[in-house]
Chain length 120, copies 2
DNA sequence: CCGTATCCCAAGAGATACTG
DNA sequence: CAGTATCTCTTGGGATACGG
């Protein structure tokens, strides 16, 4: 079992200011990504999975994931295998927000919004 | 007591889709505005108040308010007086989101974010 | 497989000046 | 007082091609 994981050094700031955070939430695909990870079947997701499920161009998805890691919402784990594998999963920080998240979804369901994320 | 109110006709859609909504939340000053109205002392706010309190240029503030009215978060009431007066207040729709909103604030307080909104 | 590097185009935010 | 009209500048996202 040579797992050989490697968490990205990730210069994650301990403090995140609110404006930055909400601005990130409003960016394209962010909510869809979080939804996939937080409310999806598995607790972790691979790059390709997201790309396929949400139909995002790789550069945009990459940026979004970076940002989410940077604010401390996601944790990136890289497995040194061939072919390469990378998993993203929710941090505790984000986990603490899950109830709120579900509440939001509930609210949306009540008011005619079909689903989160998925611009266009 | 010549009140002479006038609610803006407001072509408010009944259904709002999630992406549009989160995108709006992420736009500059949106959260700050909602915070001011939802968690502020008074339940209604005037244009000038917001402009002063949040330091936003009038055109941007105007756009933001329009959008918030359009998605059904705010209600605009115009008083036909001189000088003109306009009040914005939270709709029931937004009101239903207040617990979630407070939860979010709580979450932020716990994690080092000082305040919502206020970009830069 | 999981990205990065470029280029281009569109949306958005601020400054400023002006109007009902 | 409460906005609108422009204009400009920046940011952001999609497409595509390529790299470890």
């Amino acid at each position: 079992m040579s797992e050989s994981k490697a968490k990205t050094p990730s210069e994650q700031r301990e403090t995140v200011d609110g404006s930055e955070l909400f601005s990130l939430l409003g960016k394209a695909h962010t909510m869809a990504i979080l939804r996939e990870i937080l409310l999806g079947d598995s607790s972790s997701v691979r790059f390709g999975e997201l790309q396929e499920a949400l139909d995002i161009s790789p550069n945009t998805l990459s940026r979004r994931l970076d940002e989410l890691v940077e604010v401390g919402f996601l944790e990136r784990t890289q497995y040194d295998e061939i072919p390469p594998r990378v998993e993203y999963e929710a941090t505790e920080l984000l986990g603490a927000l899950e109830p709120t998240f579900r509440e939001l979804e509930q609210w949306m369901a009540t008011h005619g919004a079909e689903q989160l994320g998925c611009p266009e």
